[in-house]
């Protein structure tokens, strides 16, 4: 592809909302934004402050991930005992009960998915700056994977909310949420925001305009 053709290709902007492709306008006045002529959505070559916002959310999520795992997410009280359950503890109990399949599901949702999201988004944000040409296609796929599985980390939050709402038998048996749940919910929300603030188009910055590249 010639340089001229590549330059032309980069001056097109796709609308995130309706999909219409428009020519990028020359904006000489700061503060003005180009809008999609069909749906009015703001058109940008990249999301604003994409890297800064991604890093901020990823780092905050990574910090909160420590109390989310160390503090109990659920507190159970019965006539005889008062138990505190952490995320890993709950999975261990399921495993000991013989529910290996469920233990695996909860492990994937509560441990693997948040770690994948924090690790993958950190890697994606770092490589944009420091290894822009490294495995672009795999990085694009990694981003789509993170986007697709992100929801599942809410699983344990729902379970604790449901258990706390139904197990209300006073001193006989009751379930409450622990501080760890608050931290874990924050981790889930922060990683969702991190995913949305990252712009996968940054992976392809200065890449050949067409054809697969390794």
């Amino acid at each position: 592809m010639s340089d001229a053709a590549r330059r032309d290709a980069q001056e097109l902007l796709g609308c995130e909302s309706c999909g219409l492709v428009s020519a990028a306008a020359v904006i000489d006045e700061p503060g003005l934004l180009q809008q999609c002529p069909r749906c009015g959505h703001v058109l940008r070559a990249t999301k604003p402050f994409a890297l800064q916002r991604t890093w901020a959310c990823v780092l905050a999520a990574a910090v909160l991930y420590v109390p989310a795992n160390a503090l109990p997410v659920m507190v159970t009280t019965s006539a005889f005992q008062h138990d505190e359950h952490t995320l890993l503890g709950g999975i261990h109990e399921l495993w000991l009960d013989g529910s290996w399949f469920l233990a695996a599901i909860v492990f994937i949702a509560s441990i693997a998915v948040p770690m994948l999201k924090i690790g993958a988004l950190g890697l994606l944000a770092w490589t944009v700056r420091h290894r822009p040409e490294w495995r672009r296609l795999e990085r694009a796929r990694l981003y789509r994977l993170v986007e697709a599985v992100g929801h599942w980390s809410m699983l344990d939050v729902y379970v604790v909310v449901l258990l706390a709402a139904t197990v209300r038998f006073g001193p006989l048996a009751s379930v409450g949420a622990g501080l760890g749940l608050l931290a874990f919910t924050a981790v889930v929300v922060l990683t969702m925001f991190a995913t949305w603030s990252f712009d996968p188009r940054m992976i392809w910055r200065d890449a050949p305009a067409n054809g697969r590249v390794a």
Binding site: S17, C18, G19, L20, R38, C39, G40, H41, L94, D97, S99, L102, I105, V106, A109, R136, L137, A140, R141, R144, H151, W152, M154, L155, D156, V157, Y158, V159, V160, V161, L162, L163, A164, A165, T166, V167, R168, F169, L172, A173, G176, A177, L181, L182, T185, A186, V188, V189, M192, W196, P200, I203, W204, A207, A209, N210, G211, R212, V213
Partner: protein, 173 residues
């Protein structure tokens, strides 16, 4: 199915669902949604006393127990986003099926994108199932009609979402 030649992302699919069939599915989803949020998800019996909870009750009890952030996030993902998913689609699709474009169409399509991002009905359904299993050892737990409605809603939402949002623009021109 069309894929990006550079990054391999899916950029378009053939749409077997017409505006009319998506509207039909959305009306069904609206009815199922009302059952899903108002019927008990599960019932628990422990030596006599019985407890049951709907989605709304579960979220309210999290709020009262001093977990406002958890309650707000759960409400946004299991209650508000699904409601917006259904409500905004009904508002957009009824006029479209009659051949006119409703006021605020562009805003609605953008809001629908956000609703799809925040909607976690599928995760919530698995969460209810998981709670039932964890309760089975402690007390007599049985699934309620709300759980079945949640499961049906998950399937309906997946079929509705497969029709896509961007192609709504093709039908207004």
């Amino acid at each position: 199915m069309a894929r990006c030649s550079r990054c391999d992302a899916v950029i378009g699919r053939s749409h077997r669902l017409t505006i009319g069939s998506v509207l039909a599915l959305t009306v069904a989803a609206a009815a199922v949604y009302l059952i899903a949020v108002s019927a008990p998800l599960m019932t628990l019996t422990l030596r006599g006393p019985t407890e049951s909870a709907t989605v709304v009750e579960a979220i309210l009890s999290a709020w009262r127990d001093g977990e406002p952030l958890v309650a707000v996030v759960a409400a946004a993902t299991a209650l508000v986003a699904p409601a917006a998913f259904v409500g905004l689609r009904l508002y957009v699709l009824f006029p479209l099926s009659l051949g006119s474009k409703p006021p605020g169409f562009a805003w609605c399509v953008r809001a629908l994108r956000q609703a799809e991002r925040w909607n976690m009905v599928e995760v919530f359904t698995i969460g209810v199932l998981l709670s039932l299993v964890r309760l089975a050892g402690l007390a007599d737990a049985s699934p309620g009609p709300g759980l079945f409605a949640m499961g049906a809603l998950t399937v309906l939402f997946a079929s509705i979402a497969s029709a896509g949002l961007k192609h709504l623009w093709w039908s207004v021109q």
